[in-house]
């Protein structure tokens, strides 16, 4: 039994549940921030069994959400918008690329103005760096 603040950097300790056989991994939450093109961008990653949720934004809003997953019919993962403006493909293309990279199901929510393509590239670069440094967090 536990309910605690998540500092974002570690998987919770096992405590009283040590004896329990876990068939799946514990959910891990990872937060980081970076100043990109004079703008503070926050990242929030919730990693689950064979899938993860990635949120990126300057303020804590959840305006769009897309999902992507690999299929055996196509080398490019399938992606679909499940929340927000369907004409804004930022989140779905992000989800698609991250899914291709990780082979996992990816939920992505990108909440920064999409007119700045330079910013988008830097955001994606930052995510890749974090994935290389902390692969267990994704």
């Amino acid at each position: 039994m536990r309910g605690s603040d998540v500092p974002g950097s570690q998987v919770p300790a096992r405590g009283s549940m040590e004896a329990m056989e876990l068939s799946h991994r514990l959910i891990s939450i990872h937060n980081f921030s970076e100043k990109i093109s004079e703008r503070l961008v926050h990242f929030h990653v919730m990693s689950l069994q064979d899938c993860f949720f990635l949120w990126v934004g300057s303020s804590a809003s959840l305006c769009s959400l897309a999902v992507a997953m690999c299929s055996r019919f196509d080398s490019m993962p399938l992606s679909s918008m499940i929340l927000g403006d369907k004409s804004d493909t930022t989140s779905s293309s992000f989800a698609q690329r991250l899914s291709k990279r990780t082979k996992k199901q990816v939920f992505a929510s990108i909440n920064i103005p999409c007119n700045d393509s330079q910013l988008m590239l830097l955001v994606e670069k930052r995510i890749k760096e974090e994935m290389e440094s902390f692969p267990e967090k994704f």
Partner: protein
């Protein structure tokens, strides 16, 4: 404070209370989240609640995955003094009546307590019995981020 700031960062732009004295760019996370786990009828159940400005995200899982995504949205009518009714919609996954029932039971109170914010629920339950749903609701209460 200045000795902790990275040398390239313009000092005037930083508010001291958001900078922590750890190296690099450590800022208070924008998204507040809490998580809990409990064994309900022998099944490990994990709950994560995350607060966004326009949504509360609740993940309830016994499979370790996000599972079915359901949006639970209050029907706001201006001048309505009573509690708003809630609309459930399955955004991804199996759209069957029991999913709507579980979603409404589990997170109606989250929407009400968070000033009628819409709730996004990721639901992956092995056991959808009344007892289990009631127990899961108690775990969600312990992860209050709203």
């Amino acid at each position: 404070m200045s000795q902790h700031a990275p040398p390239h960062a313009p000092l005037t732009r930083q508010s001291p209370n958001v900078m922590m004295n750890t190296p690099g760019m450590e800022v208070k996370p924008a998204v507040v989240s809490k998580q809990a786990e409990e064994v309900i009828h022998g099944v490990v159940t994990q709950v994560v609640c995350s607060a966004f400005t326009d949504h509360i995200l609740v993940v309830v899982t016994q499979y370790g995955k996000i599972g079915t995504l359901v949006s639970v949205t209050p029907n706001m009518v201006t001048g309505d003094l009573e509690r708003p009714t809630l609309t459930t919609k399955v955004l991804l996954g199996c759209d069957e009546p029991v999913v709507h029932v579980c979603a409404k039971n589990l997170v109606s109170f989250v929407s009400q307590e968070s000033k009628n914010k819409p709730v996004l629920l990721g639901l992956a339950l092995k056991d959808k019995s009344v007892d289990c749903v009631t127990a899961v609701k108690e775990v969600i209460k312990r992860c209050q981020v709203w």
